[in-house]
Symmetry: C2
Subunit: 320 residues, 2 copies
């Protein structure tokens, strides 16, 4: 009799574990409308009997990086560029007399706080050239595991948003091809995308320098010329150029308005499927940062086009 009860208990617990696992693919998300919308969308997309079914080949999802998967105050790539500038200054002291190098090496915090992606790109072109993309990626991989992110006192690999990693894994499990589509440079992103997000290099789209192929060594060298600045409208255009499909799911954030065209393209570039847009709103100054946008365009479009706005404060149980 005791054995029988044990067995019933065991089977019940086992069954409940199964249920709860199935019922909650996003445990770090609070049980709000946003979470229900996402799960409902995915369950329909993979259900052949649903009117909102999407064949596997068209299950494309694109995620912005800075402010969407990790904090962006400051941008991680700015931190990396600063390290590179310091290295450069060690071997070429004359750089210390020039801006923006001087400000960087002397630790000008104002620059750090206000630098936006335009400046990252400009700085990248100045600092990350005549290096091979392979070497750069190795340096970035090393950098993210050893560098402490300011204000949060954690190394960079520990400041990835946990709810977003759950979302990426949930989508991948449901046969979505998940892409990063970042204003940061593509080689920089590839140095961290596999380790931090589980995303392969061929699923990373970013800003880019021109590459030149050195056929003597087999290396791809970054030239000091911008190939593409993957932001705003160009983000949408690059998705079309590289993927050739409008994503059915697109995720960005409030901050500089750089993701609105990507989200909108996933919405009106798709003629055959129901789509899902998610916009992360940074409203949690206790656990992360609180900021908006000057002209409020991202939230205005979210309202106008009925996107899902994630309140980090209310929708996320845990952040890191």
């Amino acid at each position: 009799m005791l054995i029988k009860i044990k067995w019933i208990l065991f089977v019940t617990v086992f069954f409940m574990m199964g249920i709860s696992e199935q019922a909650d693919p996003l445990p770090s998300w609070n049980n709000t409308n946003t979470k229900r919308n996402i799960i409902n969308y995915v369950e329909n997309a993979v259900n052949e009997k649903s009117p909102y079914y999407i064949p596997e080949e068209d299950r494309i999802a694109t995620f912005d990086n800075d402010g969407t998967l990790v904090p962006e105050k400051p941008l991680i790539q700015i931190l990396f560029s600063i390290e590179k500038v310091k290295e450069m200054a060690e071997s070429d002291k004359s750089l210390l007399e020039k801006q923006p190098f001087k400000a960087i090496v002397t630790g000008d915090n104002e620059y750090l706080k206000t630098a936006n992606e335009d400046e990252v790109i400009s700085l990248t072109l100045k600092t990350l050239t005549n290096i091979s993309e392979r070497q750069l990626r190795e340096e970035v991989k090393d950098f993210v595991f050893k560098t402490t992110y300011p204000h949060l006192n954690k190394t960079i690999d520990k400041i990835v948003y946990k709810p977003q990693i759950e979302l990426i894994k949930y989508l991948q499990k449901n046969k979505f091809k998940v892409y990063i589509c970042s204003g940061g440079t593509v080689d920089f992103m590839r140095g961290m995308s596999k380790e931090l997000y589980g995303i392969d290099s061929e699923n990373v789209i970013g800003s880019s320098n021109k590459y030149s192929y050195n056929e003597a060594t087999g290396e791809m060298i970054l030239e000091p010329e911008l190939n593409s600045y993957n932001d705003g409208r160009e983000k949408a255009a690059n998705i079309a150029l590289i993927i050739g499909k409008a994503p059915v799911i697109s995720v960005g954030n409030v901050g500089a308005g750089g993701d609105i065209y990507m989200l909108r393209y996933s919405q009106n570039g798709n003629k055959n499927y129901k789509t899902l847009q998610v916009l992360i709103n940074h409203d949690d100054d206790k656990r992360e940062f609180k900021y908006g946008e000057k002209n409020n365009i991202s939230l205005n479009w979210a309202d106008k086009y009925k996107w899902n706005v994630v309140s980090m404060k209310n929708d996320w149980k845990e952040i890191f």
Copy 2:
């Protein structure tokens, strides 16, 4: 007894079918060294016990298109552009006075025979603008099934090289990600890649116009500005930019020398794996066309770097 013999026969035949299918994934290839090298390479790549094993995520293969998967005398995209020019001339008669439009509309065969990919690109920029990539792809899809290819008297969908389709399917079955990497434009290639080769749009790399996103309609419009001419060194660079990995297998052809850097990059851009280069040589004037290169550079590099040269005449049992 009779039943028993029937059973033995049945089982034997069934078993042999299984064997032969397993033993010959490339039935349109003759049983030559080239075929044995390819199969041997793939069998090692997927065998975890082999020193030449390659993990799934790094099984990347890139194929050129014109002259590698289909004939290129003339280029299919030139045929399409000619149709477009004729359409344009119908609504704008003044074009008939301008070159190259005049030569095209009057059916100048010399132009057809000698046009190379540079001219395709130039013509593309003149003819394929202010159209959405979606509309262009639909037109191409229609075009390849209804247009007869000169000299061969078959519609374009029927002049795909059968041995290459077998090779693509064989690689895909063995979990290689197979990419097209063409000098032709990316939208043009996407109009035929799925139907003719079984390759999805996100696995197509090509030359490209700049795109602009029209957020009112959701369309991506082709602008009259070249984004990239995917040939020579730039072909290798675009693979690095878009895939972020050097392919372990790369397949091109003798003709204009446009694939040599792609093949070489797959060879010396890879530090961790054994790689495979395949170069198609057009030496069969009975079944297809016979031509070489002015400076013979592709075959010279093939010899120098030990690439596999496919003699269409001797290595391919069937071509179409």
